[in-house]
């Protein structure tokens, strides 16, 4: 037996206020980063946020150019980030390639203008003071004021970094990104492109990105203070949110993109014809495999009305489609986690109640049952749960249920109020689980939460 040759740690650059920092002083084993200089990670409160007075139209211009540069990648910086991501990100190469290839398109002018309009109520509110008519007649003006944000971003999709840059820039906030170990490169690659198209621009100087071990009290205990930041924007899992909660208090607020699970609801109309069933299975598979089922919008439980025989036909079709290649999903098999294999082996003792479609080779697997399974379906596993009526499935919905995809689309109206009452934040036609910018996310408007809403009251005499 040969011990594997030692692999040198991957270099992870940092970005400090628009300047890329290289170095490998801090060795984390698999990768190494420059030494963290805490002083350089904060923006002094004695000075306004660098981009506070830059018109948002100019910021959008810079972002559009950033997107164009990401698409062209003239110096190969994005290609290099991609290659390193392939080595460090759990997503398969083809999904990363397609995600990186589409990064530039996220910086879309119309989309950003729509976001400002929808989430803030207009560019004038972020660029200056808007007069409002109060009921008492008191003259008053309001403004969406930039804040100081530290982002604990998620690494399960490179688009999260892109969206975070856009949101931080459109609100003119100062932004420190804590990089996740599952995506060490996307945020810095985007910020490097931003600095390349607008060197020294106030918006470039509004961003830093660095890796430190999540929960490192020596760093987080120093930085996560109201003296330095107003809000912590935390994505994802338990340890992140728990870590963030330790520091939250007056003057230091939590904006949480909580961990979420998404589901589907499929009516008996799916069995109208073989073509319809095919179409429904295609949509069901599409929603289940968003970012190889690593996204919060990816469907994991699919509740369905039908006989055992009908539902089994759906399961077989769905299973076959889970392994197909799509823009955000790969045909590369994903190894089945051993705990899920154990669960499935246990269920195999009850083949009448729990039927498993597909093998353990990681090309997608479906479990059909009459009650949701105890484990969390992941890595292209869908639990198809038979119900007599889709309304019966509402009891499995909680505040952790983000997206519910419904077929046929028309049945959304009969279900949506009950779903939202149970906690759901998003009801879509089956097949539309991929998120859309400018609409609420996890039950709130991110831009609206990022800014501080300030007022200026009284007349001039």
């Amino acid at each position: 037996m040969n011990a594997p040759a030692p692999v040198p740690p991957l270099p992870v650059p940092h970005v400090v206020k628009g300047t890329t920092i290289f170095g490998n002083e801090q060795d984390y084993g698999r990768f190494a980063t420059p030494k963290l200089n805490l002083d350089s990670m904060v923006w002094p409160r004695s000075e306004p946020a660098p981009a506070a007075d830059v018109p948002v139209a100019e910021i959008i211009d810079v972002l559009v150019q950033t997107g164009e540069r990401l698409t062209r990648d003239p110096d190969g910086a994005l290609a290099e980030a991609l290659e390193r991501s392939v080595k460090s990100n759990p997503l398969p190469r083809d999904v990363l390639e397609r995600s990186y290839a589409s990064l530039g398109r996220i910086f879309n002018r119309a989309m950003m203008e729509f976001q400002i309009e929808q989430e803030l109520g207009g560019a004038d509110l972020i660029d200056g003071w808007r007069e409002v008519a109060t009921t008492s007649g008191r003259p008053a003006r309001i403004r969406a004021f930039p804040t100081r944000l530290v982002h604990i971003i998620a690494g399960n999709a490179p688009g999260v970094a892109a969206q975070s840059v856009i949101r931080g820039a459109l609100t003119k906030c100062v932004n420190l990104f804590k990089l996740p170990s599952n995506d060490l490169y996307s945020a810095t690659a985007i910020l490097r492109a931003l600095s390349a198209v607008a060197p020294g621009h106030p918006i470039a100087r509004s961003f830093s990105a660095a890796y430190w071990r999540g929960g490192d009290a020596a760093i987080e205990g120093m930085l996560f203070r109201p003296q330095f930041f107003d809000k912590i924007v935390a994505w994802g899992g338990e340890s992140t949110i728990r870590g963030a909660l330790k520091y939250v208090g007056p003057g230091f607020e939590l904006v949480a993109f909580d961990p979420k699970t998404s589901i589907s609801m499929i009516g008996r109309e799916a069995f109208a014809s073989e073509e319809t069933l095919d179409e429904v299975a295609t949509r069901g598979a599409f929603d289940a495999t968003v970012m190889n089922q690593q996204a919060c919008t990816s469907s994991r439980f699919q509740f369905i009305e039908g006989t055992v025989e009908q539902v089994d036909r759906y399961c077989a079709k769905l299973q076959a489609k889970l392994g197909e290649e799509r823009p955000t999903s790969s045909s590369t098999p994903i190894p089945l986690p051993s705990n899920i294999r154990d669960e499935l082996d246990g269920l195999r003792a009850f083949e009448d109640d729990y039927r498993v479609f597909g093998g353990y080779e990681g090309r997608g697997l479906v479990v059909r049952s009459d009650a949701p399974v105890d484990f969390y379906p992941d890595n292209k596993i869908v639990n198809v749960v038979r119900v007599a009526d889709l309304r019966d499935a509402v009891r499995h919905v909680s505040v952790a249920t983000q997206t519910v995809g419904v077929y046929p689309a028309a049945r959304r109206t009969e279900l949506r109020d009950a779903l939202c009452s149970a906690g759901t934040q998003r009801v879509v036609a089956l097949g539309l689980a991929q998120p859309e910018s400018g609409l609420p996310h996890d039950g709130f408007y991110p831009l609206h939460r990022f800014v501080r809403w300030v007022t200026d009251e009284g007349g001039n005499n």
């Binding site: 399960n156 599952n182 051993s338 154990d342 082996d345 269920l347 969390y376």
Partner: protein
């Protein structure tokens, strides 16, 4: 007699841990071959794993790697079967992990999970249950014979190399005397091996009920789906508090007799927080540190989650009992043959326990060549050759360091496990994703 039997029986040979057996590796391989050949026809899950991995026969230790079960295999039943009282289905599940037929168990009129476990035991299926942090219980079957062998193993391994049970001590176990749980089973074994008949004391004869664990899990499920009322949660929490108060009162009473008999060679086992309560009482009575007979056997352990203890609690407990005998072993519910620790703080291997050191992912078998000077870190797996009732192969989440050297610094034969056992962190500790559930947030309000 088979090689496997020989290895298991050799635990009774005087100085079993002191003498090197140059053929041990070959014998263990032969024993693994034997037990696999027998079990693959008996245990459904083992057969499935073997077929998937294409393993027909154990030709090398590597062949065992894909056949190791994770602890999750023993909790792979649907929770709804317990919630809905479908005990026949639970038996059917248990069968896939058991050698003996479980259809000899009558489940008519079973009122709950404790009842079900009792019925299994009546049928010769000695089930141990564990409660994981998820609230879902594992159920591990073994035979009465396995139980007896476990007790026999403990009679040699517990206390080694300092003391051996001679049924001549007053014993104090700061836990329940009955219950289908491995800690209680260990207390019962130690009571039998060390205890003077009539002088064995348990904190309570209120048996540990698995249904209480399951009830907590069921309540959590109902909290998650929003059907539990605040009043129900309050009632549940009050009940837990009352029980804790009853146990504290029992401990107070037992503390008096422990302290009164501290100059005798007593046997005492408790959790850290319980030892801290004993210390508190001793301070009030003016009992100084180190005032116990050096022949006392004292062990401390258990989780300290949710218990507020001073940061130096381990030092305080060590100082208080002073120069007593503190035997330590490495083992787990799934293992029959625990590994005792020597004076050089290393864990020694019983002849009937096969060690399988694996890489972090649990896929590759590691050997002495995988680390400097034959000292190798990896994930611990094992095949316990004792079990007649189930498959003894398990992969753990423990990160251990094995020194493959032929001799331990204590002079006895190796290999040995170093005293630096930790857990492998959950995959991707610092991996952040937006997908997940909030169950743990709901859970925390009940467990913290």
């Amino acid at each position: 007699m088979s090689v496997r039997r020989d290895l298991i029986e050799s635990i009774l040979e005087p100085g079993v841990f002191d003498r090197a057996d140059p053929d041990i590796e070959a014998k263990q391989l032969e024993a693994a071959r034997e037990v696999f050949a027998e079990r693959r026809g008996q245990i459904g899950l083992l057969r499935r794993r073997a077929e998937e991995a294409g393993v027909d026969e154990i030709k090398s230790m590597r062949d065992l790697v894909p056949l190791l079960f994770a602890h999750t295999a023993y909790k792979s039943y649907p929770q709804s079967f317990i919630d809905q009282g479908r005990w026949d289905r639970m038996l059917q599940w248990m069968q896939t992990l058991s050698v003996d037929r479980t259809d000899n168990v009558n489940v008519d009129g079973v009122r709950g999970v404790d009842d079900w476990i009792d019925r299994l035991r009546e049928g010769g299926h000695i089930v141990l249950a564990t409660s994981g942090s998820s609230g879902k219980c594992s159920f591990l079957n073994h035979t009465r014979g396995d139980s007896a062998m476990k007790r026999r193993h403990a009679s040699v391994a517990v206390g080694w190399p300092f003391v051996r049970g001679a049924k001549d001590r007053a014993c104090f176990f700061l836990g329940p005397s009955e219950g289908p749980n491995s800690a209680i089973e260990a207390s019962q074994n130690n009571a039998a091996n060390f205890g003077r008949p009539g002088d064995v004391h348990f904190l309570t004869d209120e048996p540990l009920l698995i249904s209480e664990v399951s009830r907590a899990a069921a309540l959590r499920t109902r909290m998650a789906d929003g059907t539990a009322t605040p009043g129900e949660i309050e009632a549940f929490e009050n009940e837990a508090r009352e029980k804790a108060a009853r146990m504290d009162a029992a401990l107070d009473a037992m503390t008096e007799s422990i302290l009164a008999r501290r100059h005798e060679p007593i046997y005492l086992t408790g959790m850290w927080a319980q030892h801290m309560m004993i210390i508190k009482r001793a301070r009030k009575l003016g009992i100084p540190d180190g005032d116990f007979s050096p022949k006392c056997v004292v062990s401390a352990g258990g989780g300290v989650k949710g218990v507020s203890l001073p940061p130096d609690y381990k030092e305080q407990v060590a100082k208080f009992y002073g120069d007593v005998i503190r035997p330590t072993a490495y083992g787990m519910t799934e293992m029959a043959q625990m590994m005792p620790r020597c004076q050089c703080m290393r864990y020694h291997r019983p002849p009937g326990l096969i060690w399988l050191l694996l890489d972090a992912s649990g896929e590759r078998l590691l050997g002495p060549e995988d680390g400097p000077n034959g000292v190798v870190e990896g994930r611990f797996g094992f095949l316990d050759l004792i079990y007649e009732g189930r498959w003894g192969g398990l992969i753990t989440g423990d990160k251990v360091t094995i020194d493959f050297a032929a001799t331990c610094p204590c002079g006895r034969p190796g290999p040995t496990i170093l005293d630096n056992i930790t857990r492998f962190a959950q995959a991707g500790d610092d991996h952040i994703g937006c997908a997940g559930t909030i169950d743990s947030y709901i859970r925390s309000s009940l467990t913290e």
